[in-house]
Symmetry: C2
């Protein structure tokens, strides 16, 4: 490992140590990456006029950096330093990705829960202005949805690039939480007549729906056939 | 309809009118309810020490009110007016629920998108202290996961109730966004050789995983057999 290689875990900070449920918190870098790479939509939180705002948006991970993108006219992206009035100081954000894996049904109402994996990233979102990083980020956003897809599209035109703001958030202040397994019923409840266990929740894909105007000679590419 | 019945739509406000993508915004009450009722986990945003925080948490809808719950020791629930130091004024929050319905693959990178349904609720979360509303909210939180389940559990004990904070958020300042359908490719891109269409994304359930300690004579109840 080189001297600059990241460690195997993110360093906890005051705000990434949960006030409750600490035993479910983890800072493992590989696990954080895996949770992020399995997602498409994050929930991006920021403060506007003193009040919280949480918006769903697409994201992509490239190494230790996350990217989100949007119209240059969108309010949060402008605030992150866009050309139309951003301060240039960046926008404090909290970016959260959650996968629901199961509904946990305990004998007691109190111990009902869910199995899940989530990542919470705190930091400052900053607009990406370098053309090379912007292009790589936009490719990553397409490939986060379907790996390999960006090479099989018409790349952005100058006009499209000018209309798109790309914002970066470094993975530095990061935590994950994971719950797995069955219900944690109280010992005195084990004899109760209520069914207890887990109802797994999964995400499934397909079948593909071709565009109405897709020419009949355009085959489904290999990178999509896997779905 | 009585004079106090809510209208068929929420009234837009400055912060529920999006700066971009207005054509996808809707305030239809029945649609908002349907999106909320299909979800389990929301992303709850609030401001702590001037910075945004977004945490995934379970929620339930009862009429025009959402409930979330948690330990009385959790920081956001304390801030919403809990017994351990809350101001009693409530906590400004933004609560967002998102369903991903499909990955939209256009010929151009620029027109890649997702089909989704989301609801964003702005407001002030306030702790629920009345015993009857607290009990109804806790039942609703169990039934949001599996309708009918709360009647087939051991209800909360006095000790469990004392450890649980319930917070309410009224559905007043609410908007939804919905994208459906295929890619919106540029006319000049229609002849390109890239496959174009939608990869649907669905949530599936099961098969049930019984608890390790489930007695063999406890049958799967009817309300679970539907999954």
């Amino acid at each position: 490992m080189s001297a600059t290689a990241p460690g195997s875990a993110y360093a906890p900070t005051e705000r990434t140590i949960p006030s409750r449920g600490r035993k479910r918190a983890t800072y493992d870098r590989a696990l954080v990456h895996a949770i992020l790479d399995e997602g498409y939509v994050c929930h991006l939180g920021f403060v506007r006029d003193g009040a919280p705002v949480v918006l769903p948006t697409l994201y992509a991970r490239v190494g230790e950096r996350l990217y989100v993108h949007g119209s240059t006219g969108s309010r949060p992206l402008r605030a992150a330093g866009g050309p139309d009035g951003g301060s240039g100081d960046g926008l404090p954000v909290c970016l959260t990705v959650t996968h629901l894996d199961g509904l946990v049904l305990a004998r007691s109402a109190f111990h009902h829960s869910v199995n899940y994996r989530s990542v919470v990233v705190h930091g400052t979102a900053r607009e990406v202005t370098g053309p090379a990083e912007r292009a790589a980020a936009l490719d990553a956003l397409v490939d986060q949805a379907v790996p390999g897809r960006s090479a099989d599209t018409r790349p952005p035109s100058a006009r499209e690039l000018a209309a798109t703001a790309v914002v970066a958030l470094d993975l530095a202040e990061v935590s994950a939480k994971v719950r797995t397994g069955g219900p944690n019923d109280e010992p005195e409840d084990l004899g109760l007549p209520h069914w207890s266990g887990v109802l797994p929740v999964r995400r499934t894909f397909g079948p593909l729906v071709p565009a109405d105007d897709l020419a009949p000679d355009v085959a489904v590419p290999d990178y999509l056939a896997a779905f």
